[in-house]
């Protein structure tokens, strides 16, 4: 009984805390409340995961109204894993955020910043936990609106245009999703995901189902930044405040991909998906995304934009895994979802540390910083090696799983592309390493920033420790894959057993 209520607590706690945080305008209080909220959510989501790790499914009915009329939260292994990674990243980001927010956000905005952060957090958690498809839309919009506001708080004025661009495209995507949901509702009369799964195969007007499917997939693809619908991502992640870059890059697109997986398996059944062209499209688009993202990343002159394009490539890996529509492929995607959050979180945290110290993240101005900040450099190196897929790190686990999935389906071309993606990653990672380590430190020119102060002497403890937590997690989960591969395996088993059990 308590277990079901944990799921709603995960949403209610940040919801209650957010307006309280907005009332306090002092940074230390807002930060403290956010930290407590994230820590408790982390604890609860870990508890939830332990409960569902054996394949059980938890149902919580909001307000006591039974589904399919009432909204329910349906937690299984997949949800719980995604919720856990969102909570972990939120916690690490909050630990990291104190000094960074102090430096980057205007003082009168501090309370609002943390309030919006908690709203975004609760939106993402709500998307993960719910079992009602309209509820997904609502939480999707909550998290998106909060993230538009958060991105716009960046120092550079380009943050405003990037946020606006993201707003337009994001709302477009969400509206497509909404139309799709409406069509599905019109066809079946229900909004509950389990119920939809039972009723959709019985619908006679197959055109309606096709249209609903297409609209839902396109809407989610926009949110998940799947090539070619990724255009908002590079600018949004580069110009956002550092804390938001970290948080969004590690969580927002992952949650959208989670919804995609959910819709493909638990709403529209696997048999239906196999009758469409979607699997092949996804595999091809994934491959193109990998190559495009990696190649664009190589050409960048700033660290944050390079990492953003790298994210586009990594999302390509996940999509390719889904496109294989096999147990191994899906496991690879889910594992990569978890692993990439750790890697990208650590990398953006390192970028943030450089920005904190020298107010800039362009390669021109980062020369030699690796030698001045060896701990940051080393953690960044671990995460970067994980991005390449060096064995011993989490990146290798996902790559190995994905290539095995490709081999299983005799897709030799895809294997080559995945390996090629790793090779391209070596190029841009090494570019970063060379600039940071080999070139000598030069005088810094600071651009477009009001404060423009001199270099700050030392890295704050909170920022470095949060980054090291994620970097060490990259290595730990590269060896001990019980949590990631084990849970993904259970989740995939549940997804593949047809019909969504109650």
């Amino acid at each position: 009984m308590i277990h079901e209520q944990l799921s709603v607590l995960l949403v209610v706690i940040p919801l209650l805390a957010a307006p309280i945080t907005a009332m306090f305008n002092k940074l230390s209080w807002s930060w403290l409340i956010t930290l407590l909220v994230c820590a408790s959510c982390c604890f609860f989501s870990a508890w939830l995961l332990m409960d569902v790790a054996n394949g059980e499914i938890i149902h919580y009915e909001l307000g006591g109204w039974a589904p399919p009329w009432g909204i329910e939260y349906r937690i299984d292994a997949l949800n719980a894993l995604v919720a856990l990674i969102v909570c972990i990243i939120a916690l690490c980001t909050t630990i990291y955020s104190r000094k960074s927010v102090e430096q980057e956000i205007l003082p009168y905005q501090h309370g609002m910043f943390y309030a919006a952060f908690q709203l975004c957090f609760l939106g993402l958690l709500g998307i993960t936990l719910t079992g009602d498809i309209f509820n997904v839309f609502v939480f999707l919009e909550i998290s998106s609106l909060a993230s538009y506001a958060l991105i716009a708080m960046g120092k550079n004025r380009k943050a405003l245009t990037s946020s606006f661009h993201y707003l337009v495209l994001g709302t477009l995507g969400a509206t497509f999703f909404l139309i799709g949901v409406g069509l599905a509702y019109a066809a079946t009369g229900t909004l509950n995901m389990d119920d939809l799964a039972a009723k959709l195969p019985l619908v006679e007007n197959i055109q309606m189902v096709h249209t609903a499917f297409a609209l839902i997939i396109v809407g989610l693809a926009l949110k998940a930044a799947i090539y070619p619908l990724h255009l908002w991502l590079p600018n949004a992640y580069s110009y956002a405040p550092t804390v938001i870059s970290i948080f969004l890059s590690a969580t927002a697109t992952k949650v959208a991909i989670y919804v995609l997986i959910r819709c493909l398996f638990n709403v529209f059944s696997l048999e239906y998906v196999l009758t469409t062209w979607l699997p092949q499209i996804m595999t091809v688009l994934g491959a193109v995304a990998i190559l495009y993202g990696s190649v664009r990343a190589i050409g960048q002159t700033g660290m944050k934009k390079m990492l953003a394009y790298s994210s586009v490539a990594q999302i390509g890996y996940m999509i390719m895994g889904i496109g294989f529509l096999s147990q191994q492929g899906l496991t690879a995607s889910i594992v990569h979802l978890f692993n990439h959050a750790l890697m990208k979180g650590a990398l953006f945290m390192a970028a943030g540390l450089y920005i904190y110290r020298v107010n800039t993240a362009t390669f021109e101005n980062l020369k030699g910083m690796g030698r001045e900040m060896p701990y940051t450099f080393f953690a960044m190196l671990i995460a970067a090696l994980s991005l390449i897929g060096v064995p011993g790190t989490v990146g290798f686990v996902s790559k190995w799983q994905l290539i095995n999935a490709a081999l299983e389906q005799q897709q030799w071309g895809m294997v080559v592309i995945i390996l090629l993606g790793s090779l391209l990653a070596i190029v841009y990672v090494w570019k970063l390493v060379e600039v940071l380590y080999f070139q000598s430190a030069e005088k810094i020119r600071v651009q477009g920033v009001e404060s423009g102060s001199e270099r700050i002497g030392s890295s704050p403890l909170g920022m470095t420790s949060a980054m090291w937590i994620l970097a060490l997690a990259c290595i730990y989960f590269g060896f001990n894959t019980e949590l990631t591969l084990g849970t993904a395996g259970t989740a995939v088993d549940l997804l593949f057993s047809a019909g969504g059990t109650k």
């Binding site: 609502v138 919009e141 004025r157 606006f164 337009v168 909404l178």
Partner: protein
Amino acid sequence: MTDYILGHINYWIIIILMMVGLYTMMSKPNLIKKMAGLSVFQTGVILLYISFGKVTGGTAPIVAEGFDTYSNPLPQVLMLTAIVVGVATTALGFALIVRIQEAYGSIEEDELEKMDDET
């Protein structure tokens, strides 16, 4: 043929609305016009849901004496939520436009791009 168009006239109008909104959003460089297009697009979606919920011969879904056929209340309720979301999005969008005007001095997209490329 007439049955196909006139019988589903509401859906045709909704589709036209959505297309108008989309086109405005994509082709007009002025940011306010983009927001207007987005609004129109979202309105189209709202009308779509409400159209789904209408039951022939049904009245407003409020329990009253003498009526026994009601239109489906669920889509109307869902659309209340969607309207709120739309309002919030529009408000946020306009707030951003105001800030962009302060920071750049213009709200035409092509001028903004030019200014961004220069820096």
